[in-house]
Symmetry: C2
Subunit: 386 residues, 2 copies
């Protein structure tokens, strides 16, 4: 038995110790055949297809099929797949009771996290599977819409089988069959946000899955990560900013004042993209169509903000990120601000699930190291001598 520590070895014999800057930048944590993010070129593809092709021409259900089965479905596959999803559109009474018992002031992300956890406790056993992914994905909009209606004193509604995923979510929120342009806008949003490399929530889901835990444990963990404002928790702040600015004429003064106070403008900059986020480009066009009037203010604020940020720090070029037009688009289809992040989860859950399935397929426990920087060799004194 050897008790030699690496510290006692000469430098040249010590094992290589890889360092990161604390955020694992540039460290490859997994291989994936799902999405490819090219930060410098500003490109995003899902399983080889650019999002610019997918966004206007596919239903969100087709993207689920693509990420889980590796190919876009044909008509017959899509019909069967939709039927499987529709068959899962139910909330067990126990989970509905949880949603009823949460106070109206509960953050929707906390309600979603708790409902998904409770549903998993009732329903999930064994290794992650596409069947499980489908069953939980089908229910994300149901949990959220039920909570949203209950917190407003309204009864939850039954899903409508003739409505697809995006349309049914809007129907469950409002009780009205949604307008076509709202369905098209929300479907495009769901398609665009479905997967994005090794972002923090997807990475969280993979770490949990790497312990051979269950798929719901991984998804509940990912919901908690998405909630953080440095990840998915901030888009409603873009709307707050636009509301505070109010008019085109007020925009420049408001933005200059905010920058002078040292405030951060919401919706600009991303760790990976060094050019415009390709999703922002598409969301801008969707927002323009969905609400031409509201778009005028948003576009003016965007242009001014980019110009002022460039004026302030010419050496650091910032671009519009996915949050800015996510907020504009989601507001234009009728969602209130605190549903923006959970609606992001309704999209991203299909990426999380795909990564969980990929992780368990060739698994290795994800277990990095820490550098200890605290005190060493302290002399212990029992309580009565302290």
């Amino acid at each position: 038995m050897s008790t030699t520590t690496s510290e006692t070895l000469p430098q040249s014999q010590r094992p290589p110790h890889k360092e990161s800057k604390g955020g694992l930048e540039g460290i490859v944590a997994a291989t994936t055949a799902l999405s490819k993010v090219e930060g410098t070129a500003g490109q995003l593809t899902y399983c080889g297809y650019t999002i610019h092709d997918l966004v206007r021409k596919t239903l969100f259900e087709e993207i689920m099929h693509l990420l889980w089965f590796g190919h876009l479905p044909n008509q017959k596959e899509l019909s069967g797949f939709k039927a499987d999803l529709i068959a899962e559109r139910s909330i067990p009474p126990m989970v509905m009771q949880v949603l009823r018992d949460l106070p109206a002031s509960t953050e929707p992300m906390d309600a979603l996290r708790t409902a998904v956890s409770a549903w998993g406790a009732l329903s999930i056993k064994g290794h992650p599977s596409i069947t499980q992914a489908l069953a939980v994905t089908a229910r994300f909009p149901l949990f959220l819409a039920a909570f949203h209606r209950l917190r407003r004193g309204q009864e939850p509604l039954e899903s409508r089988p003739e409505l697809d995923h995006a349309a049914n979510y809007l129907y469950l929120l409002t009780g009205q069959v949604p307008k076509d342009e709202h369905v098209i806008g929300l479907n495009a949003y769901l398609v665009l946000l479905a997967d994005h490399g090794m972002n923090a929530s997807t990475f969280t889901a993979r770490v949990v899955a790497s312990t051979e835990s269950d798929i719901v444990s991984a998804l509940v963990a990912a919901i908690g990560a998405l909630k953080g404002p440095l990840h998915g928790g901030a888009p409603s702040k873009v709307l707050d900013m636009l509301d505070a600015i109010g008019t085109v004429d007020n925009a420049e003064r408001w933005l200059r004042d905010a920058l002078a106070r040292g405030e951060r403008l919401m919706g600009f900059g991303h760790r990976v993209y060094k050019t415009e986020d390709p999703r922002a480009e598409e969301l801008r066009e969707m927002a323009r169509v969905a609400d031409p009037q509201g778009f005028v203010l948003a576009r003016r604020v965007e242009e001014l903000a980019l110009a002022l940020l460039h004026e302030q720090k010419p050496e650091r070029r910032l671009y519009t990120n996915v949050e800015f037009y996510s907020a504009v688009l989601l507001a234009s289809v009728g969602l209130v601000g605190d549903l923006f992040t959970p609606t992001f989860a309704i999209s991203r859950v299909i990426g999380w699930a795909a990564h969980v399935l990929e992780q368990v397929d060739h698994n290795r426990l994800i277990r990095p190291e820490a550098d200890y920087t605290g005190p060493t060799d302290l002399h212990f004194m029992p309580l009565d001598e302290r």
Copy 2:
């Protein structure tokens, strides 16, 4: 605006791309002043104190104080700290209803995950704090014991303020003031398992906290990671093995047969330790005292298993890990097998919380990269052409 991708640069100009073997082995993901794990020397310290000093001489509450405040409490600090914990020993009616509504067949880890999530939805707003860490830590044993009694058709009990954390948990499970040797054994277990570097659940908690999400989202995520059998989910299988072996005389034949069938013996080997896990050494001594009779079989099985594993693969030395005597000790203090992993969570939650507080103190979003290995540049065909 540059659209040059790193792929178009000559090899020598491409940015360095760090690779891991898929499990982030040897990658430093954080600096910490909490625990130090020395895998080759077989040493574990908390904030500079070796666990061999702490295990028999401190109360679990002292370790909480050490990990959260950075120093062991004196008598006065400990009294105040205990009073703060005792004041948090309550389950809100909404969370109790969730525990009542879960079927008896629910996995205790799923019940814990859901109860903690529901409690957080009701109780937690704002940035992680020691106050929040204390409030949630105080309730872990309450949630578990309430669920355990409810699934057996018994009513949950009220905590006893004169009992410390370990003793109160045993009381809440059984309704009996526990024997001293059981309290000592469980307290030692809780002390030994409280923190352990950048293990998968602690890392999960830090990734979630790095998005600036809330502490309960981080802890719920960590519970999901601990549940996996490659992390904390397997110790009850050690007990299953000992039960199947039954007697000392049967041990060698049983173990040889299991190895011949290619089965994995439970409780041996660890990614980090290349010698005996220092926690295993301490747990062995606690188990010897707590249940001298049961210990005889466990010890014989351990010795035989190590010898047979060595015989089978002389080049790969395996050692007893923390799971083996965790199972023996937890059984000896009266816990049933499916409470072993959630009891691990009752201990480890204080390390998770300490790491969350440390992460947010000098935060940087943890966001690694992925290597894309799937198809590229696929030609999109709309649904009616597929």
